[in-house]
């Protein structure tokens, strides 16, 4: 009898870019920095949107806002794949994405002092 090809930790059987229909880039990719915060909207999912289970899972876990990095870690998918899925959801207005302040607009001193105090209190 042939050995099954599954070992104890087989990883995803579906190759990652199968989930994205072979797409490696999202149109909205610029919106998805690793620390961009994703939050599910109240808009309904319609059958015509042709979404997969991973899309729906993202909707579930982002009921409270999560960073793109955390979404990828939770789904155990490469971040590049997650960005494509997020782009689909954004296109259907099923999520919101908020970009963090960019390097050129460094947080002000008041906020940085709050960070210092927050760290000291941990």
């Amino acid at each position: 009898m042939p050995e099954p090809f599954l070992d104890e930790d087989p990883g995803p059987i579906v190759r990652p870019y199968t989930l994205t229909g072979g797409r490696t880039r999202s149109d909205a990719e610029d919106a998805f920095d690793l620390v961009s915060l994703i939050e599910t909207t109240d808009d309904p999912v319609l059958p015509t949107m042709d979404l997969g289970p991973e899309h729906l899972r993202i909707r579930q876990i982002c009921a409270r806002s999560l960073s793109v990095a955390e979404v990828a870690a939770d789904l155990d998918l490469p971040v590049d794949v997650v960005r494509v899925l997020l782009g689909d959801l954004l296109g259907h207005h099923l999520i919101r994405s908020r970009r963090p302040a960019a390097g050129s607009q460094l947080p002000d001193d008041r906020l940085l002092k709050e960070v210092i105090d927050g760290l000291n209190e941990l």
């Binding site: 690793l34 961009s36 955390e70 794949v81 908020r98 963090p100 940085l112 927050g118 941990l122």
Partner: protein, 192 residues
Amino acid sequence: MDSMSSDRPDPVAIKIMIAGGFGVGKTTLVGAISEIRTLRTESAMTARSEGVDDTGLVPQKTTTTVAMDFGRITLREGLSIYLFGTPGQNRFWFMWDELATGALGAVVLADTRRLSDCFAAVDYFEQRGLPFLVAVNQFDGARTYEPAKVKNALALEPHVPVLVCDARERESAKRTLVSLVEHVIKEKERTA
């Protein structure tokens, strides 16, 4: 980007890079102060990484998988710090650019037994103009170095802080991050 329709202030996510040579304690440092998560990325290899990976031997190979550790520290609702351990190998430099975009600053972890392992990171942050400090991870049994000597050995500019830390200790990890944020404030004043 479309903003939230609510009247809550925008949440702030502060991105800090934890860099340094392989095995220097980056994951330990992130884990000392936050829960470790793993991020995978599968990227097409860039021109910069060609040759290093020697794709000539494996012509089909056009993507590479990088695993990175990260952690989140929630200071309050709407204010979090994300720590990203940088992938150590040179062929993953392309990930550094993504991590450095919008980053507040970086901690370069150094092991005095292999100080040259962090040259590349120091060089990168200097070139990029991203505020950083060097934290000498004090390994058991390792010779204790004066921060001034490390500063000299790494040819750091005088304003770059060098401190000693123990990446396993939460308090030490906290102090290191606090020092970085203080340094960022000073740098803003210095370059203003």
